[in-house]
């Protein structure tokens, strides 16, 4: 039994990682991600623009100040001569030992004469005479080792003397750093907020869509009376729910009228048919001639066939209408398989066919459980087995099997039970596999085999009622028909299993 026993049942709720995966895969979350990207981009552009304009503005201001000062000093030089300039420079240097102003008067060999910096900057001036250089230290002992940016302009005096007038622009650097930091944080906050918001939004939308999905699944499984809950808020989800509910109500009405029609057919046509059958049977009991008796037997057989096809059609309609779920109960599919096989075994034996059931021996139960209608599942399996015996040549092999499988589908783990009937007959070509499920369709065009072409349609209706997959495959050689059903949720402690 160990080979076929199902593995651990899936956890009852959704696990955390699975839920997270679902949210990440949701379209809302992807949209929000895109939105976050756009937001991040615009924040980047905005802050970049602020940074750029601030820096440029401050630089221009500095340049203008320096130029104005040079202009003033040049004026003084012209009016008061070199000595006047020197005293002015010395005075201004003294006034701003650590401040923003930078002054240095040097001779033709760049030797400092007077000023508040120690040496002529090594950097080359540009075409307009502007120098950007690093200013090491200042008169203030506290930041003597501090190196910061300065910008200056050179003013040529007569006799090779030159005057450097500049500004300490460390504030400008500080502002750049500040803006860069703000930029980083702003970006990080935007992205974090967008992600968190996206997560919450996706989870919320997913929850609302999931209720719609849930109702959809229940309806597909046959409970047409289910409706999507509405909250009366009138938002787009509420409107969607209201519209879907209206549509469902319409479908339910249509289905009910179809059912009414089929019930009427049952009542109006089956009753006279059965009366015909009974009258024929009663006439057959009279003392008829030999020929008349044979004809009567044929007529009775025809009436029986007609009734059988009729009943099968009505049964399919009944099953499809989904009204039979009331008879659902937990059952052991292996017991069911053995019962079907036991019933049909003499038919197979008469044709010299081997009928094999796996797993063997259902005594005491197989541990497999599924939730379903035992009579309908029995009917479905009986139809399949009947077909298998009918279409397999004498001496062939027929196998009936139940297998448990923990299949992974749509991200959530689902335990399934596959019930299959395979034969070694001629099989069904792939292109006809959908067709054979249609009502009254028969591959055998001559219709020489008995039957009315409704057997597989009924199997499909039963599969649909159980939310099961019906699969026709090549058994090489032969046909393999598999009904893949959901395993019933285990009762009580899920870890307590039969060994």
């Amino acid at each position: 039994m160990a080979d076929t026993a199902p593995g651990m049942p899936p956890p009852m709720g959704q696990s955390g990682p699975a839920r997270a995966r679902e949210i990440l895969a949701s379209s809302t979350f992807r949209l929000v991600l895109l939105y976050a990207l756009l937001m991040g981009g615009s924040v980047l552009i905005l802050l970049g623009f602020i940074y750029w304009s601030t820096a440029v503005y401050i630089t221009r201001q500095t340049d203008a100040t320096i130029e104005a000062e040079i202009k003033g000093l040049a004026e003084q030089y012209r009016r008061r001569g070199l000595s006047g300039l020197i005293s002015l420079v010395a005075e201004r240097s003294a006034r701003t030992p650590t401040g923003a102003g930078v002054y240095l008067l040097a001779d033709a060999d760049y030797r400092p004469l007077v000023g508040n910096i120690d040496a002529w900057p090594t950097a080359e001036p540009d075409r307009d005479g502007w120098i950007d250089f690093r200013l090491r230290g200042s008169a203030d002992a506290a930041d003597r080792d501090d190196e910061h940016a300065a910008r200056a302009k050179v003013f040529q005096l007569t006799g090779g003397l030159r005057l450097l007038v500049g500004r300490d622009v460390r504030d400008l650097g500080a502002i750049s750093v500040l803006i860069r930091e703000a930029l980083g944080w702003g970006l990080a906050f935007t992205v974090a907020l967008a992600l968190a918001g996206g997560w919450l939004m996706s989870a919320g939308i997913k929850r609302r869509i999931e209720t719609v999905n849930q109702v959809g699944r229940e309806i597909m499984e046959g409970d047409l009376s289910r409706r999507i809950p509405t909250d009366g808020s009138g938002d787009e989800f509420d409107q969607l729910a209201v519209n879907l509910n209206l549509m469902l109500a319409r479908i339910e009405t249509l289905m009910a009228s179809v059912r009414q029609v089929s019930d009427n057919i049952a009542h109006d046509l089956r009753t006279p048919l059965s009366r015909l059958h009974t009258k024929l049977s009663q006439l057959r009991d009279l003392d008829l001639g030999k020929d008349a008796a044979a004809g009567m037997d044929e007529a009775i057989a025809d009436a029986e066939e007609l009734l059988a096809a009729f009943n099968a059609l009505l049964r399919i309609a009944r099953v499809e209408s989904g009204s039979r779920r009331a008879a659902f109960a937990d059952l052991d599919p292996v017991v069911l398989l053995h019962d079907v096989a036991e019933l049909y075994e003499p038919l197979a034996a008469d044709k010299g066919q081997r009928l094999e059931v796996s797993p063997a021996g259902p005594d005491g139960g197989s541990g497999l459980r599924l939730h379903g209608d035992r009579d309908l599942l029995f009917q479905a399996l009986a139809n399949l087995l009947d077909n298998a015996i009918k279409y397999t040549a004498p001496g062939g092999d027929i196998r009936v099997a139940a297998r448990a499988r923990d299949g992974a589908r749509s991200g959530t783990v689902k335990a399934t039970i596959a019930l299959s009937v395979s034969d070694s007959g001629p099989g069904i070509p792939p292109e006809l596999r959908d067709k054979v499920l249609q009502r009254f369709y028969r591959i055998d065009a001559s219709r020489s085999e008995p039957g009315h072409g409704l057997g597989l349609s009924l199997v499909q209706a039963v599969a649909q009622l159980h939310g099961a997959e019906l699969e026709l495959a090549d058994a090489a050689p032969g046909l393999q028909v598999t009904l893949r059903l959901r395993a019933a949720p285990p009762h009580g402690n899920q870890h307590q299993r039969r060994e």
């Binding site: 089956r270 059965s274 008879a327």
Partner: protein, 225 residues
């Protein structure tokens, strides 16, 4: 045998009445639930044949009322619905058997006979059955014919047990499926016939007098030669 038919389909009721009278029954007919309930309560019938869907009072309501007043008359429910949940509902309401329309009269007749047999006294549960020289013992699970032991498969044993319980009565294929195999379904082939023929091979083949007989258009009967 007194039979009450509660059925609103006048044609079907007339036909059933005629057929039942032909097999020797006294038949009353009610066309709606209220009339049926009055007749059933005021008379002593051997069996009631009740349609599920009736005007004025539905079949199950009639049934529940009768059972509530401790009326144990066997009831056969007729229904055009014919699905398991309806069947379960019908049996839960106190029905003894359930027959889906349309049905052959032979099927109805066989079931009425079976219900009458069930209702007849003999409270002691029977464990030993004897038909002619064929004997079946439920306790030892032994089957003998003319003192010769016959070995049967478990299902063959149950099949024979059912036939012997209803010895002399016609049992239909559907009755066998429902009681021996315990499934309500429609076999597309006469798979029951194959089982019967196997059983015959074991209990009839080596003996002069066959005990299992085919009743054409109805089913089988096990009876003394």
């Amino acid at each position: 045998m007194r039979v009450l038919i509660i059925e609103d389909d006048a044609q079907l009721a007339a036909y059933l009445g005629k057929a039942l009278r032909e097999v020797g029954a006294t038949v009353d007919h009610a066309a709606d639930g209220r009339e049926g309930l009055l007749l059933a309560a005021g008379n002593d019938y051997d069996v009631l044949v009740v349609d599920r869907m009736l005007p004025s009072l539905d079949g199950l309501a009639v049934l529940r009322t009768l059972r509530a007043s401790d009326d144990k008359t066997p009831v056969l429910i007729l229904s055009a619905l014919g699905e398991v949940d309806d069947r379960v509902e019908g049996l839960r309401a106190g029905g003894d058997d359930y027959l889906v329309k349309p049905f052959a009269f032979s099927e109805l007749h066989a079931r009425i006979e079976a219900l009458l047999r069930r209702a007849s006294p003999g409270d002691q549960p029977q464990t030993h059955f004897k038909v002619g020289d064929l004997e079946l013992d439920l306790l030892t699970r032994e089957v003998t014919r003319a003192s010769k032991k016959i070995s049967l498969q478990p299902r063959e044993f149950r099949l024979l047990e059912y036939l012997m319980r209803h010895a002399g009565q016609v049992v239909t294929r559907t009755m066998l499926l429902e009681h021996v195999w315990d499934y309500h379904f429609d076999p597309q082939t006469n798979v029951i016939d194959v089982h019967i023929s196997r059983l015959r091979g074991k209990i009839d083949r080596d003996f002069d007098q066959p005990l299992v007989h085919t009743v054409r258009g109805a089913g089988y009967v096990l009876r003394e030669p």
